[in-house]
């Protein structure tokens, strides 16, 4: 694990309700624009917004917190990467046990974690003091071996 400290942190705490997904998405865009690097293009921003939407929707729909809990969205800006963290205190899940979607069946659901894992460079899920913590890292300049660093 990289132990360096972020240069900046931005936090949004909001009620676990679907109506706030757009707020979280808008903040993703604002945070990415605020970093002000040429390497942060539309593709980078879209991926961060997608990952946050998937992670927050998972919490709202599946953690048992819908309309009665809170989500903490934390952006940690480092010199070379953006770490986006989604925290909740719901029932959690084992990210390693989430299956890859069956693409031939075109199922209605089951794509969220797949999209996060394939679009981010590093994904880590931990439970600390009752908080489920999903950390999603995207480097500003992707490492050549980005496939190898996915967890």
């Amino acid at each position: 694990m990289n132990t360096s400290k972020p240069t900046d942190e931005i936090t949004l705490e909001f009620a676990s309700r679907l109506q706030y997904l757009q707020l979280a998405g808008n903040l993703c865009r604002e945070v990415c624009h605020s970093i002000g690097l040429n390497s942060i293009d539309d593709e980078f921003i879209n991926i961060i917004e997608l990952a946050v939407s998937e992670a927050c929707t998972n919490v709202i729909k599946h953690s048992g917190l819908k309309d009665k809990g809170k989500i903490i969205l934390l952006f940690q800006i480092y010199k070379d990467r953006l770490v986006t963290v989604v925290k909740d205190h719901g029932k959690g899940f084992d990210i390693s046990q989430v299956p890859i979607p069956d693409f031939d069946k075109h199922t209605v659901g089951g794509y969220g974690i797949y999209l996060i894992k394939t679009q981010m460079d590093e994904v880590e899920y931990r439970v600390i003091d009752g908080w489920n913590i999903l950390s999603m890292t995207r480097f500003f300049i992707r490492p050549d071996n980005s496939e190898a660093v996915k967890k």
Binding site: D42, N46, L50, S53, Y111
Partner: protein, 116 residues
């Protein structure tokens, strides 16, 4: 997200604007359900003004397709923005839906099918 509706003969073109995610999925599901109930299952989804879609948005598109297919209807997709098309391709949804460059082309494809 907003949904506006245009009719071209027997075909209904739904124009979506905004984000298609879990917060807007129910509006799409309800709209499609109402059209099917009224006997209008030949649909075009015009996505020109959709700037964001996630897996919940895709999910309601698939569910809607299943709903109209049960009554011999169909959904054709038109005018995807690049980032939305990318999500379709990542999840292989571009193999499930017919995708057109414009809602006019999508609507005309129904007519061509009828002539066939």
């Amino acid at each position: 997200m907003t949904i506006s509706e245009e009719t071209l003969n027997t075909i209904v073109i739904l124009k979506f604007k905004g984000r298609l995610d879990a917060s807007s999925a129910k509006a799409v599901k309800d709209k499609v359900g109402l059209l099917v109930k009224n006997g209008r299952p030949l649909l075009v989804f015009d996505m020109e003004a959709v700037d964001f879609i996630d897996s919940s948005g895709l999910g309601v598109l698939v569910a809607s397709l299943r709903t109209v297919n049960k009554v011999e209807g169909d959904i054709k997709i038109a005018s995807l923005q690049a980032q939305v098309r990318s999500i379709f391709e990542l999840t292989r949804m571009h193999r499930l839906f017919e995708i057109f460059d414009s809602s006019t082309a999508a609507a005309e494809s129904y007519t061509e099918q009828t002539l066939d």
